[in-house]
Symmetry: C2
């Protein structure tokens, strides 16, 4: 099947905002991860919801696949047009439409990035806390159900999207949700669309929950004699109900990578990086209670600070973690894993994964959002070595199976994309067929991000 008639029709109203230039196709055929270059047939840059609907209607009329694109920071190849067609790049739809401080919500276009949003919010005393690390677009974050370091306190995109405007496969434009904080008015379409990875519709507007910038913040770091001690400290902290805003684990290999990349002094040992939000009194209290737990588990004295610049340095280091780890094996590319297990199984899951990596030919530093039971091994491969890729895929495969065996999920926050499709049957059983039935009901021709998420063929 040719997409030529669709592209011709699209060029009529998009003009130069439909491009087939080699550099543009390559830019939208690449992934942040290990997936091979996969060129779309064209890239469209709509300005309005009406244009997105028109793109969709034209493509539906000509059976042309349509794939949404945000910042391209997905790690599972979500934006790759594996069956060709048009990539719809939302970069130009990047306006914050309305901030409502009294209701602590904001309506914006999908191409706004989380950093741009927080920049615009500065004067309001409000923030959007979901933070996957990368400066992703909020449309992309909604579509992959992103989370990150602050989910333990503020939830994931599932918890922070109040409503959406969406273009469906047949070009209809619907709104889901209201601006009320809760509703029991029928099926939760917002919830169904968040995490749907562009397979059910194209998001053209989002209304998000905002949160007050905490009056005070304290953050700190401590080392542990072994991984087990660090994870048990996390469990005790949760059990005691100490309200963490972030609680991040890095293993010894990651600590070493941080030390050489950022020039910080970190012992080559497992660490926890922790942050508390609240009043000046409460964050001091929380830090003190946490320090006791650390001591009980033989950790290094918990050094914490409420000073802005020290906290910034700490989280900048964590945010650059991916790049620090990449730099630890020059020239390497990464296969990033992302499993999430019940907290009670976390130590076991990390331990077995570390042993597995130690027995493999490639390095795989581990870091994770352990308050949620979610962690990543960054498997470092020589891009020219098929053996490395093979080893990484085998490790990743065993991690996913381990997560499922322990009652967890094969993907905590990165989504299915191409990388986790093979685990959906094991994870969902016949529930995966139900996802396929919903997909067929809303996109009978299978034009929205084909080849992803649901059973194929």
């Amino acid at each position: 099947m040719t997409t030529a008639p669709a592209l011709e029709a699209l060029a009529h109203f998009l003009g130069e905002r439909l491009t087939r230039s080699k550099s543009e196709l390559e830019l939208h055929g690449r992934s942040e991860s290990h997936f091979p270059l996969t060129l779309p047939d064209a890239v469209a840059y709509p300005d309005t919801v009406e244009e997105v609907a028109q793109i969709m209607r034209v493509c539906a009329a000509h059976d042309c696949p349509v794939v949404g694109w945000g910042a391209g920071s997905s790690l599972e190849g979500h934006g790759l047009a594996v069956q060709g067609g048009v990539v719809v790049d939302f970069t130009r739809m990047n306006r914050v439409l309305q901030i409502r401080p009294a209701d602590m919500d904001v309506t914006l276009q999908p191409g706004v990035t989380r950093e741009a949003l927080n920049q615009e919010l500065r004067a309001t005393g409000l923030m959007f806390p979901v933070d996957p690390g990368a400066n992703a677009t909020l449309g992309g974050m909604a579509m992959t159900r992103a989370s990150g370091t602050t989910a333990v306190r503020y939830g994931t995109m599932r918890d922070n999207v109040l409503g959406l405007q969406v273009v469906l496969a047949d070009g209809r434009v619907i709104r889901t949700g209201t601006r009320a904080r809760k509703s029991s008015a029928g099926y939760d379409l917002t919830g169904l669309l968040v995490g749907s990875e562009g397979t059910l519709g194209l998001v053209t507007e989002l209304t998000l929950r905002l949160h007050g910038i905490p009056e005070a913040t304290s953050a700190g770091i401590c080392a542990f004699p072994d991984m087990q001690a660090a994870v048990t400290a996390v469990m005790d902290t949760i059990q005691m109900g100490i309200p963490m805003a972030r609680i991040e684990f890095v293993d010894a290999a990651t600590a070493r990578a941080f030390s050489s990349y950022a020039g910080v002094e970190m012992a080559e040992a497992p660490h926890l990086l922790v942050e508390f939000h609240g009043s000046p009194d409460s964050v001091a209290q929380d830090a003190a209670r946490f320090a006791e737990i650390v001591e009980d588990h033989g950790g290094s004295p918990f050094r914490w600070s409420a000073r802005e610049e020290e906290r910034r340095a700490l989280w900048a280091m964590r945010h650059n973690g991916y790049y620090a780890i990449l730099a630890s094996r020059p020239g390497a590319r990464a296969l990033v894993t992302d499993i999430c297990v019940p907290i009670s199984e976390l130590a076991r899951a990390v331990e077995e994964t570390q042993a597995d990596i130690a027995a493999s030919p490639i390095p795989g530093p581990i870091l994770g959002h352990v308050g949620d039971g979610n962690f990543h091994a960054i498997l470092l491969i020589d891009p020219d070595s098929p053996a490395d890729l093979e080893a990484a895929k085998a490790l990743s495969h065993r991690m996913a199976e381990r997560a499922l065996a322990l009652g967890g999920t094969s993907t905590g926050e990165h989504g299915v994309g191409l990388g986790k499709l093979a685990y959906m049957r094991a994870e969902h059983g016949e529930g995966w067929d139900v996802m396929g039935e919903i997909k067929r009901a809303l996109d009978p021709k299978g034009l929205l991000n084909p080849g992803k998420l649901v059973p194929q063929g």
Copy 2:
């Protein structure tokens, strides 16, 4: 169409657990609210998921409607078999299957009530906080996306159901979700099913998030000169980020009803009832900060207590609010409204509703979960007066329209059932058709709770 062949086949394996006795049919044909008696053809009492699946398969083979039933405490007629068929009563499936304190979750059968669950949890230091007032079953609460007084802190059922086991319309049994705290593995089927009111499947098992019983709790009450002052105090409290566990509004008419029903002394004025959860220090601090806000808005001194028995008395009064209000007009039945608006519109929504009720021939005390922007007018009608019912329906209609005009929802927590079906088109637009498309994909014969939630015919 006759349901006789289905009933005969069901009786074969259910024996006396399929009943057609007049008293049983009447018990399952009644609603807590104003809807007329609507008898099903039979009531089934399954013991296991296998039996539920078999019931579903038999009914599917004979095109017989199937309606789930929990405690019968729904306020919108969800459980009424408006097209006849079998009501499946989950009373016998009432076991707590597994409590996992380390993971702070629990797996249980749908017939467990929230009070029974909290009773079983006592020794663990954990609680299930979602509290709609009535001692509903957790299956029913999941199906209506219930919330109540504590949603402002702990969320609604949407936020507290981790996973489900569900029997689909064709008898397939699926599991949704995992025990991991978060996942981005495809469509959120758990979220789609929570709030689906039995129209997509019958829930046979739930895994719920638990929360630590707070180390300390403080609660208190205060009166305000007028409604506007009370609502502004709520908005300021939210803006300042004071973490409330409950913040309930009652108007002067409700305060009067409380005074005569419970024998408590309450001024005939708008009140706020508030609770804080945390450490002994933090709840004292929260209460003190809230007291300042109350003073700023001319409220009566905020009297608070951390003593268990005083708190219990306060919330017992609030929980009995519905009955106190019913008793304020002897012999009356209630039409309970349930709108939820953005916080910035709350004062206006309450004010316009009060004026509307004052101009009507019937009383309608107001109370609500104002931290969420959600409130109820309990419209009291003489069950023998068609004029009263007419007046109540007109008031309810204007409230729903008002909520939608202000960017809110026609039902904050009671669900659609029969009572809110008429507002779904206005609330969702073409999104309502999408709900119908999902329903048809999963229940093509329309056997699961027919006549509810989605577009009809």
